[in-house]
Amino acid sequence: MAVNEETGPGNQDTGPGEERAAATGGNPADSPAEREPLPCGRELWSVWERWESGEADPHAAACPHCTEALNTLRHLEDVVSAARATEPREQDTDASALVGRVMDVVRLELRPGRTLPLGEEDEDAWIVEAAAARTVRAAAETLPGVRAGSCRIEVRSQDTDTTAPAGRLRRGPVGIRLEVEAPLTWHLQEVAEQVRHRVLEAAETELGMRVTVVDVTITDITEDVEGRRP
C-alpha cells in the first residue's frame, strides 16, 4: 500500500509532485497539496479514478468543477490517442536487424554443457549436448503434430563400467530423456513408441551415437493436428 516505496535508496525522484508524496496512506494522493479539494469538495484523484473505473458518478456529471477536471483528463486521453495513431503498427515494425544482432551475440556465448561420446568406446570423438538434442528433437517432430520440448542426454553411470582416465570424459552409450507434446489423435502408448523409434534411428544414422534408453514423457496433449510452429 505504501506510496513511498519509490523513494527508497538509490531511487531519485525528480519528477513533479513526486517529492510531495512523502507519507504513506490509503490513497495515491495523500500529501496536503494533492489533498486540496476542488471547490466542490471532491479531490481530483478520486474524481479521475471514478471516471477511469467506469463507475457511475452522479455528482461529477452535475458539478461544473468535476466536469472541468474530467475534461482536462479527456483532452489528455485524446492527445494520447492521436500520439498512438502516429506510431507505426506493431506488425510493421522491422525487427530483423535487431534479431540478427541479438543472435550474433548469443552464438558467441558458449554455454557450459555436457559433451557426449560419438562412435565406439575407443574413439576420441564427441558432440555437445545441444547439437545432439537438436537432432533428437527434430527426429521426434517428424511425426505429425508432435512437438519436442526438453531433451537431456547423458552417459549414465549404470550403463558404463569404465571410469574415465584422468582429464578425460567418460565414454559409453547415452540415455535420452525427451519430453513431447502430442495431438489427441495419437494413442499415447503408440506415440511414445514411435518417438522412441525415430530417435533411435536418427541417433544411429545421423549422429553415430550409441543409445541405451530413450525415455519419452508426454507433457501435454494438444488439440490441433497441425501443431507445427508458425
Partner: protein, 119 residues
C-alpha cells in the same frame, strides 16, 4: 602441467585439413573472428567460454604436454546436416593425422574431435 603450443604453421595446416573434409561447415569460431565479422558486436565484452579456455580459442588447438612425445590436436567443428556426424569425425581425424605427419613429421598424434553444432 606446462603445455607447449604448436607453431602457427602447424595449427594452420591442421585447420586446412579439417576444413577440406567433406561434411565440415566451419571451425568453431573464436571470439576474435566473430568480432571481426560483426561490427555491431564491437561493444560486447569478449568473454571466455566458461570452461576456462581463453577467449581467443578457436576451432583448432595443438599442444604437447611437457616431456610428452605425443602431440594432442583438439578440433572443434560445426558440421553440415546430411552427413553422419561420427563418420565426418573419423575423416577429420585421418586428415589431421596426415597433415601433422606431412607438416611436422610426427606420427600418431592424439586427435580429439568435438562437434559443436550442426547447420
Amino acid at each position: 602441467m606446462t603445455e607447449q603450443l604448436a607453431s602457427g604453421d602447424l595449427t594452420d595446416a591442421v585447420a586446412r585439413a579439417v576444413l577440406g573434409t567433406a561434411g565440415v561447415a566451419f571451425l568453431r569460431p573464436g571470439v576474435a573472428q566473430l568480432l571481426r565479422a560483426s561490427r555491431a558486436l564491437a561493444r560486447v565484452r569478449p568473454m571466455g567460454d566458461r570452461l576456462g579456455r581463453p577467449p581467443r580459442s578457436s576451432g583448432v588447438r595443438v599442444t604437447r604436454g611437457e616431456g610428452a612425445e605425443q602431440w594432442h590436436v583438439e578440433v572443434y567443428v560445426v558440421l553440415h546436416r546430411g552427413h553422419r556426424a561420427v563418420d565426418v569425425t573419423r575423416e577429420v581425424r585421418a586428415a589431421v593425422t596426415a597433415a601433422v605427419r606431412a607438416e611436422a613429421g610426427m606420427r600418431d598424434p592424439r586427435v580429439s574431435v568435438t562437434v559443436t553444432g550442426l547447420v
